[in-house]
Structure formats: C-alpha cells, structure tokens
C-alpha cells in the first residue's frame, strides 16, 4: 500500500533527492528518569547489560538494521563512560554501518531540552528516527518509513509517525500502572488524542477526556489501550521546531504528543501511528520491563537479536536445548543442575548441587555449592557463597555474596556491594555503595552484616509520579519500583530559583499569571542564551527579546531577570571552556551592551531603581553559580566601565536591604566590597574635582 503510494507520488516529486537522502537517527541515551537507581549511580543506563549485552547495542543494531546512516547520540548522566564505550565499540570502526556517529553532549535535564538543543544545532537535514537508547526491536522500518514519506509528500503537516506494537490486555512488557491511550482515526492512521491513564489514582476511576468535537468530526475512531509504546518515532525536522516553540514540554509523550494534539487547531500539524502486529519492539523503561525483555530475548521473541547472535565481538554464545545459552570456558560441577532459559557467560564456575533456573549469569562469576538461583540477573564478576539462595534479584558487577545468604525477589545489589555470611536481604531492598552525589557511603552493618560493604539506598522522594509500583504483585517479579522522577530543573535555572526566593512580584499574583511569567522568563532566557552562544548580533537578540516581551506583556524586571540569567549562563560556560572570569565577563558584556542598556530607563534620574534592580538580579543569580562572587566583582566593574550602571546605583544597591538579606547574598558580594569601596573613594574625589571646577 505504502509502496504503491510512494511509487505514485514519486514521478511528480523529486525522485532523485529522495533516493540520496541519508536516513538520520537521534538516540536519547539518557531518558532523564531514575528508575534504574541505584545502578545508574555508577553507570549510564544504556550500558546496563541486558542478557549480557549492553542495552545500547540493541538499539544501534536496530538502527543498523533499518539502514540508518547518521546517528546523533545524546548522552546524559555519565556521558563520559558512554562516550568511551562507544569510541571503543565496533560502531566507530571503519566497518560500521553508520557513516557518522556523533556523540553530542548537553547539559539537558529532560528530553525536551535535548530536542531544543538539537534544533539549535541545525544538524538534522531530513526525516529522522527518534529512539531512546533502550529500544529493542527487530522491526524492519522501511514500511513505516515509506508510509511516513508518502503522507508527508501528500501533506506537509504530517510531521511524525509513531511506531506502536500491538499487544494484548495484559502483557509483561507493558507498563502496568500507567497505560497510554491512543485515540486513532483508522482511516488515516492519524492519532487524534493521547492520554495516560494512571491506574493508581483511587479517588476517581480511570477516565478519558475526549473533546466532543473529535467525536463529531470523525466517522470512525479507535480508542486503544492495548499498544506497547516503544518510542520509535519517525519525525520530520518540523517536530524539532515544535519542541522549540513550546518550552514547557519535557517528555515526548505526556507533554509533546498531548500538547501538539491539543493544539491541532493552532498549528495544524498531524501525528500518525504505525501499528505493527508482527515484529518485536519494546523499551526497557523500568526494572519490570527489564525482566520482561530479558525473558523475551532468551525465549527468542526478539530473533535475531538473541544471545547466540553474539552482537558484541568476543561473545561466543551457543544455543543448547531448552533455551540454554552458553559460552565456552564454563566450569560446571557434575552434580549441578542447569535449567531452562539460562544464559551462562565465559569463565563461570558453578559448584556441586547448585541449581540454576531462568537466570542470566555474566562472565567470570563464581557460584558456590548448594546455591539456588532462580529468575536472577547476575552481571559480571559476581561471587556467590555456598548455600545461598537468590531469587528474582539483580546483582551488579563485582558483588560478593557470602555463605548462606538469602536474597529475596526484587532485591537490587549495586556495584561492588559485599554481603557477609548469613545475611538476609528483603524483597525490594536496594543496596549500594555509592551515593547520589558520587561519594562513597559508610557501610551499614545492619543491612550487609559484619564486614560487608554497602548501605540501603532509599529511592528519591518524588513519590507522586510513581510508576509500576508494588501493587502489581501478580507479575512474577515484584520490584519496588523506583520513581519516575522527572527532574523539574529546566534550562533556565534562574527562573525557578528566583521565583522560589522572596522576590517582590511585579505582575499579578494569580496562578496563571505566575505561570505566564515563568514561561516568558524561560523563553526569553533560552532565546537570549542561544543567541549568545551562536554569536548572533545585538540587533537580532534585541528584536527577539522585544517580540517575546510584547507577546507575554512582561515587566521590565522580568526582562532583566531573563537577560541576566542568560548572560550569566553563557559566562559560566565560557569559564568552563577555560576562560578567565574577567575575560568572559568583558567579552559578553561589551559585545551585548545594548541588550542591557535597553532594559534600563533611569539614566537621567537621581533615583536609580532599574539599575539597582539589575544589580540585585545579578547578585541573586550568581548566588547559585560557581565562583559567583568573582563573577559578580568583574560584572560590577564591567558594568561601570561600559557606563551602564552609575556610581549612585552601586551605592543604593549596596545599601539596599535586599542585597544583604540573607547569608548567601552577603557571601556572594563579599568580593565586590573592594570595588564599592574604591568607587566610593573615586566618587568623593570626582565630586571634589567637580567642586573645584565650579570654583
């Protein structure tokens, strides 16, 4: 069908161009969630092994299968590790199927930021595939791609095609607590409405709000809850600009999809679905999905992406009877029992009378005697002592489990944890050695026993967005689910920080007003920041700022805040790039002097509220930045030298109670003390001079 359409569309279209178009893909290696804590404290999520192969391998394999030639890989947390891994992998070798594999670093904290960053970089030339770095799929993408292209050919506004896998009502790879609902017009494969239903909200039963207009205007509607959303999206570059237009979008589905569909009247863009029935596609979105997808891989639903395909060079898995994958170089005691659905890596030794069932064992593990392993995921170099019992747990690299330990279902032991003999680990407990901030934590002998190493890790406190929590006890493995904690920090750190502070609001105090303000500040600050980074001329920056300000009806104070936030952020970045604080400040301020100048309207008055305000905003912003005190000193000096701020303003600022309101504020301005003193002296001198002149 799609093929025919395409063939029909081609003669009038630009056939030659279409053939030459290289297929690009964007891989989001970090999904900005914390569901895999505590493992993700030490390693990026996409390097966690799934059936002994890092997750990212499956995704790249899928893209190679699809014939993608250029890849942009966005690393998030631990991106240095990921980069190192990718650089050493076969994907960087000359034989790689990808002509380009670009590793992009960004300071993003959400998918939305990544997309906006990507839009700013102008790297995407044509249609691209957007996947997250944990997709496992054997789907040949060409039919979806052909349909997408045919649609785009017919209608420029068809900007995105989502690939969805049909699955029954209950399925192990589906998320059990939040289910996405797609409302689709089956005649055009168009997605009309999207909503996520949270099954845990007890107060009101699951409810879907569909606009009556949708029902009236479509002859046929499918409301589907049986789809696995594997987050494989085929997008046109317009998608990026939509992301850029809406600064509050953070997640690709809940915000972006929902928002774009809701604003259909406004932007006229249509989003489409491609529902597959045959091939495998899933995402390892949570630990429950980790378990489910591992099972799928072992029982060959993902064929040919199975352990015996040996995706990694050096792997030598071999399929034996009963879905047993084994590498050469394994030492098995004669009386041990290896059951079905098991993966055994190289260098493993298993002791007498040990039984292993449905378990994945990484390389070089030492399993003692009389051990029972069932449904466990044991990564590399793990030692398990005699007589221990491990069920349905994930045990990371280098863990040592003592003798006669009991590890219940759903327990997570992170890198390097040591359990003493006879320790019992309750189900759902997470034990780790490292903390969120990367430092080593003291061991808690109540948890790991005498001589053990590690402490119980309590997942983040964002309980409100809990997904897949313990209520789905019906699934074989019970994981006390880590919380979906989307970081709320956005690109403009100032906006949130400042609005949290005791800042006198000039706008209306209603909730909607606040929101609008925040939006303006975010928008403006991001826009100015982007312009600074790209080195756009002053006029352009000014123009953008004015238009944004007009649109949001923002106050002067807000404009100043946005501008200062952007300036400081850029300066910060320059300093990280190795520039001295003075140089960075001078460079930015002297180049973009006019931008600040236009926010000050009190040049010829005695009272200088605007200039004082500017300095206060500056001070406030620098409280949270690295070397804020130094930057403040240089900025103050620079502002004086380029004649933006007058001496009087400095004086008024210094004595303003808001500027010395808190300890933080005071500490950040300590260094500036010398400048103010110097200024005061100079002022006296100059006033003396003035007087003498008068005489």
């Amino acid at each position: 069908m799609g093929v025919k359409q395409k063939a029909a569309a081609k003669p009038k279209g630009n056939a030659a161009e279409e053939v030459e178009e290289t297929l690009q893909a964007v891989v989001l290696a970090d999904t900005f969630e914390t569901r895999f804590e505590p493992f993700t404290l030490d390693k990026p999520r996409c390097l966690l092994p799934l059936a002994n192969t890092p997750l990212i391998e499956y995704t790249l394999e899928f893209l190679a299968n699809a014939g993608v030639e250029e890849i942009f890989l966005y690393g998030g947390a631990h991106s240095d590790q990921l980069e190192k891994y990718i650089n050493a992998s076969k994907w960087r070798a000359p034989s790689s199927p990808f002509k380009q594999l670009n590793f992009l670093k960004s300071t993003s904290t959400s998918v939305g930021d990544v997309m906006r960053d990507l839009d700013g970089k102008h790297l995407i030339t044509g249609d691209f595939i957007l996947v997250s770095g944990d997709v496992i799929s054997n789907l040949p993408i060409e039919s979806a791609l052909a349909k997408h292209r045919a649609r785009r050919e017919a209608d420029k506004n068809a900007i995105m095609t989502m690939v969805l896998r049909e699955a029954g009502r209950n399925h192990r790879t589906k998320s059990s607590s939040i289910s996405p609902v797609f409302v689709i017009d089956p005649t055009k494969d168009r997605c009309i409405h999207y909503e996520e239903i949270d099954h845990h909200v007890e107060e009101h039963p699951a409810r879907l709000n569909i606009d009556s207009e949708i029902i009236l205007s479509h002859a046929e509607l499918d409301i589907r809850q049986d789809l696995i959303d594997c987050s494989i999206d085929i997008c046109t570059p317009d998608v990026l600009s939509l992301w850029s237009d809406s600064f509050d979008y953070q997640t690709p589905r809940k915000h972006f999809l929902f928002g774009v569909l809701k604003d259909y009247e406004l932007n006229g863009k249509t989003l489409h679905t491609h529902i597959i029935k045959d091939n495998y596609a899933a995402r390892v979105r949570s630990l429950k999905a980790y378990d489910a997808v591992s099972k799928d891989i072992i029982s060959r639903w993902t064929y040919p992406l199975c352990p015996d395909t040996n995706l990694l060079p050096g792997h030598q898995y071999d399929l034996r009877k009963g879905s047993l994958y084994q590498e050469p170089g394994v030492t098995l005691a004669r009386s041990c029992v290896i059951g079905r659905r098991t993966v055994i890596g190289q260098g493993i030794s298993i002791g007498d009378r040990t039984t292993v069932h449905s378990t994945v064992l990484g390389r070089n593990c030492k399993i003692g005697r009389n051990v029972k392993l069932e449904g466990a995921y044991i990564w590399d170099d793990v030692v398990i002592g005699d007589g221990s019992d491990v069920r349905g747990a994930i045990i990371a690299d280098g863990v040592v489990v003592g003798k006669d330990c009991r590890i219940a279902s759903g327990a997570l032991l992170s890198y390097g944890v040591k359990l003493a003999d006879g320790v019992t680990v309750e189900g759902g407990m997470r034990i780790t050695k490292s903390r969120r901030d990367g430092t080593a934590a003291p061991s808690d002998s109540a948890v790991v026993g005498e001589g053990g190493e590690g402490y119980e890790f309590v997942p983040g406190d964002e309980d409100d967005e809990d997904e897949d929590d313990a209520s789905d006890a019906s699934s074989g493995l019970v994981y006390r689910m880590p919380n979906l904690s989307l970081s709320s920090a956005s690109i403009s750190t100032l906006s949130s920080d400042v609005s949290d502070g005791s800042w006198p609001r000039s706008g209306g105090s209603s909730v909607s007003g606040d929101e609008e303000e925040d939006h303006f500040q975010q928008d403006a600050s991001t826009s100015v920041y982007d312009s600074l980074r790209d080195g756009v001329t002053v006029d352009v920056v000014q123009l953008e700022l004015v238009s944004l300000r007009m649109a949001a009806n923002a106050s002067d104070n807000q404009v100043r805040r946005a501008v200062v936030s952007a300036f400081m952020k850029h300066i910060q970045q320059l300093m990280e790039g190795g520039k001295g604080a003075g140089d960075a400040v001078h460079e930015v301020f002297s180049k973009y002097r006019d931008v600040i100048d236009r926010t000050l309207f009190d040049r010829n008055k005695d009272d200088k509220p605007d200039q004082v305000d500017l300095l206060l905003v500056l001070q406030q912003d620098l409280v949270h930045r690295l070397k804020g005190d130094t930057v403040l000193l240089f900025a103050a000096k620079e502002l004086y030298e380029i004649e933006l701020v007058d001496e009087e303003a400095y004086d008024q600022w210094w004595h303003d109670e808001r500027s010395s309101g808190s300890d933080e504020m005071r500490s950040v301005r300590t260094q500036t003390q010398q400048f103010v003193d110097w200024l005061a002296n100079a002022e006296e001198e100059s006033s003396e001079d003035d007087e003498s002149d008068d005489e």
């Binding site: 063939a7 190679a64 060409e142 049909e166 589906k174 091939n279 064929y303």
Partner: protein, 436 residues
C-alpha cells in the same frame, strides 16, 4: 523503486554493491554483521556473498605466496563461519577456495619439480616460457566442461601425488637454480603470481556455478518426472521450482505443495500463485518466472498437517534443502523430516535436489547444534500476553533428516545415492581443509 529499497535495507544487493568501493576489512566486517543480523540468509545468497568476498580478499592480497594466501583465506573464513555457523555453505565456499589455492600451488610445484628434474640447470628461463602459456590454455579448455567431472577425475590423482611428493619439492625448491643464479628470482616469483590469477579465475568459476546450478539440475528433470505423476514438494525453493518447470514444459503432472507454516508459508503462497511482490530484490530473478499453473500444471496447496494423509497418493517427493551433510543426511526447512518419515512409511521415493555447493564435509555429530531456532512470535502471537508469560515457545527453522530417509540426491553432477555423497565430498574438498 528497487534503488530506494536497496539503499534502505542492507542485504545481499547492497553488500555486493559496497564490495567494490569499501576497504577489504570493512567488507569482511560488513558481511559478518549481515550474516549475524540474518539480512543475508538463503544458502545461495550466503554462498554468493562469500565467493565475491573471497574474490576481493585474494585480489587485494599483495603476497603471491600460496601459503600466505591460504592463511589469509583461512582467517577470513574462520570469522565468517563463526558469525553464522549454521549457514554451512559459507564454510563450503571457503573450503572450495582453499582447495583451489592448494591445487594451483601443487600444480606449479609439480610442474617446476618435473622440469627441474628433467630440464638442464643452465636455462631457468625456458621452463617458465614453456609453462606460462600452457597452463592457462589448459585451464581454459577445462573450464568449458562442467567442472565437477573434471575435478572428480583429477583431484584424487593430485592428492595421491601430494601425499608422496609433498615434502620433496618443498625441500628441493630452495636448491633449484632460483637461489643460485641472479635471474632465479623470476622462476621463484613467476609461478606464485600465477597462482593468484588462477585462483581468482577458479573463484569466478565457482560464482558461475552458483548462477547456473539450478539450470544444470533442472536438466535432469525429465529423467525423474513422468507424465501423470503426483509430486509432493514443500516450502519455496528456486531449485525445486525450476526443476518442476523444466519438466512441466514437456509433461503433465500434478504438484501438491505443502506450505511450511509458519516460517515460509508466505513465500510458498507467492511461489504457487505467482504473485511475487516486486520489492523482494534478492529473488528478483524468480519474479520473472511464470508459476507452474500458467503451464497448465495442477498445483494443490496444502497445510503441512495434511502431508501424511495425502502421501499414499503421491508418486514422488521432491524437496529442496538448506545444506547436505557428508553422511547423506540433510538440514532443510522445518517440516521436511515429517514429510520424509511419511514418505518412508508409504514407500514413496524421496528425491532431494541440491547444488553441490550445499554439500558440506561436516559430519553431524550433534544434530541439535545444526538447527537454528527462529522467532517464537511466528508460532504464537506476541499479543497473547498471558500465554507468552507462561509458555516456552520454540520455532526451529530447520529439520535434520537422516540419510536413510532419502532415496536419491540430484545435484548439478547428476543423481547420487546418499551413500555415495562421501565420494563427492572428497572430490570437492581437500582433507586438510575440512576443519580449517
């Protein structure tokens, strides 16, 4: 249209295209990953890709020393076989090429040895001048003939010879005029360079053979298919299809076609109905073919389960195969063994058509390791979440059929009993290459 699809999905066509431009190591890695990802999967595609790759490997090999060539081909071959050990044709082609190199090397040594024995030591140039034109001439004459029969006659002789003379010429080579006279570099260098050209030519012949094998097999069709017979076949195989078509041109018979659900039923349906989809670029040559029904043959498509019930009416079973093993057993599409058993029970003759390139010198000690397990989703729909959770689904792509269930093999060399296959194996592969 085909240009876009081949640009999009990597496969045999895109591999062959990239082979010319890419560096040799890139091509090797490329083929390995294609094999691993199962983007090249049929026996013939694998064989063709391997042959072309080895052609590139040898022509890129700057050394003209046969030992080094052998070493290089062996190392490449090992990697290819490790990538997909169940595609046995890859190993077969590698062994054939290794055999070629050894033959050429020995021929040259032999010639030189004989000459240096007979000829005078004073004129090292003349033997070259005599040897150079004569050898290609000889080869040309040979290559016209079907090469298997020629090999069958020649190779035991050479191997017998090599058994005895192997150490001798090697020892005598350094002491021949080569090392004495300054002009001796030429005879040392000349034949080795020749080896490479000969081997390249030999690989070209293998590639030709891969292209012609179906037609050669089909030439025997009229000997085996008679009027008004009822023939049972299974799954879609170009070889079988051509075989039947050839017979259908002259005779009227009935074909019962088992569909081989779930892995290959779609292609089978296409083969039967002739509605080949155009986007299947690998099988593009077949899509030009008319289906049997156009020639007035009755074709009955049946589910695999009906095979036993219908077997009593069948006169002959004709099957294609994935690969043939040295003991006469074969590895073929899943469902073949059931058909073979049913044929045995009903004493129906079972004929297997297969190119010689599928014949592997591997002896099947462990049948299970030869069988590839495919996508479980084809057996049980993945949507059925409750079942997926609780059931272990296995979907073997191939069956092992023991030799005693097969009555006749038809290769491009003619018909053979299963017990005779060892002989063809020893004609085609050198003993030292069996486990290279």
């Amino acid at each position: 249209m085909p240009s876009t699809s081949s640009a999009l999905t990597p496969g045999l066509a895109s591999f062959l295209k990239s082979l010319k431009t890419n560096a040799i190591d890139t091509s090797i890695e490329n083929l390995i990953s294609l094999l691993k990802r199962r983007q090249i999967r049929h026996s013939r595609s694998c064989a063709t890709a391997t042959a072309y790759l080895l052609l590139r490997v040898i022509s890129a090999c700057r050394t003209s020393d046969s030992a080094k060539l052998i070493e290089r081909v062996q190392s490449v071959g090992r990697r290819l076989v490790a990538a997909q050990p169940r595609e046995m044709v890859v190993g077969n082609i590698v062994r054939r090429v290794l055999g070629l190199i050894r033959d050429e090397a020995e021929d040259d040594r032999e010639a030189e040895y004989a000459l240096s024995e007979a000829g005078s030591e004073s004129q090292p140039h003349t033997p070259r001048a005599f040897d150079d034109p004569s050898l290609p001439l000889d080869r040309d004459a040979l290559s016209v003939r079907p090469e298997g029969s020629e090999r069958a006659a020649r190779s035991p002789l050479t191997s017998m010879f090599s058994l005895l003379s192997h150490p001798e010429p090697e020892a005598s080579l350094p002491s021949t005029p080569g090392s004495l006279s300054p002009s001796g570099r030429l005879p040392g260098h000349g034949p080795a360079k020749d080896v490479r050209a000969e081997v390249l030519e030999g690989i070209g012949e293998i590639i030709d053979e891969l292209g012609q094998v179906d037609d050669q097999i089909a030439a025997y069709a009229l000997d085996h298919i008679h009027s008004n017979e009822i023939i049972l076949t299974h799954t879609s195989s170009t070889t079988v299809q051509k075989f039947l078509l050839k017979a259908a041109a002259k005779r009227k018979f009935t074909v019962i076609h088992a569909e081989s659900y779930p892995n290959n039923h779609e292609t089978t349906h296409i083969t039967v109905s002739g509605n080949a989809s155009k986007d299947d670029e690998i099988l593009s040559t077949e899509s030009f073919q008319k289906p049997l029904i156009d020639l007035g043959i009755t074709v009955i498509l049946i589910p695999d389960s009906a095979v036993f019930a219908l077997m009593s009416r069948v006169n002959k079973v004709i099957l294609g195969t994935h690969s043939v093993l040295a003991n006469g057993g074969l590895v073929a599409a899943a469902g073949t063994r059931v058909i073979a058993r049913a044929a045995k029970v009903h004493q129906t003759p079972m004929v297997v058509v297969s190119g010689v390139y599928k014949l592997s010198p591997v002896y099947p000690f462990d049948f299970d390791s030869l069988i590839e397990y495919g996508d479980a989703g084809k057996v049980l729909p993945y949507e059925d979440g409750d079942l997926v959770d609780q059931i272990d689904v296995q979907n073997p792509l191939y069956d092992y059929v023991p030799a005693e269930l097969v009555d006749l093999y038809i290769t491009n060399l003619g018909g053979h009993a299963p017990s005779y296959l060892y002989r063809i194996v020893s004609d085609h592969y050198r003993k030292e290459d069996i486990s290279f």
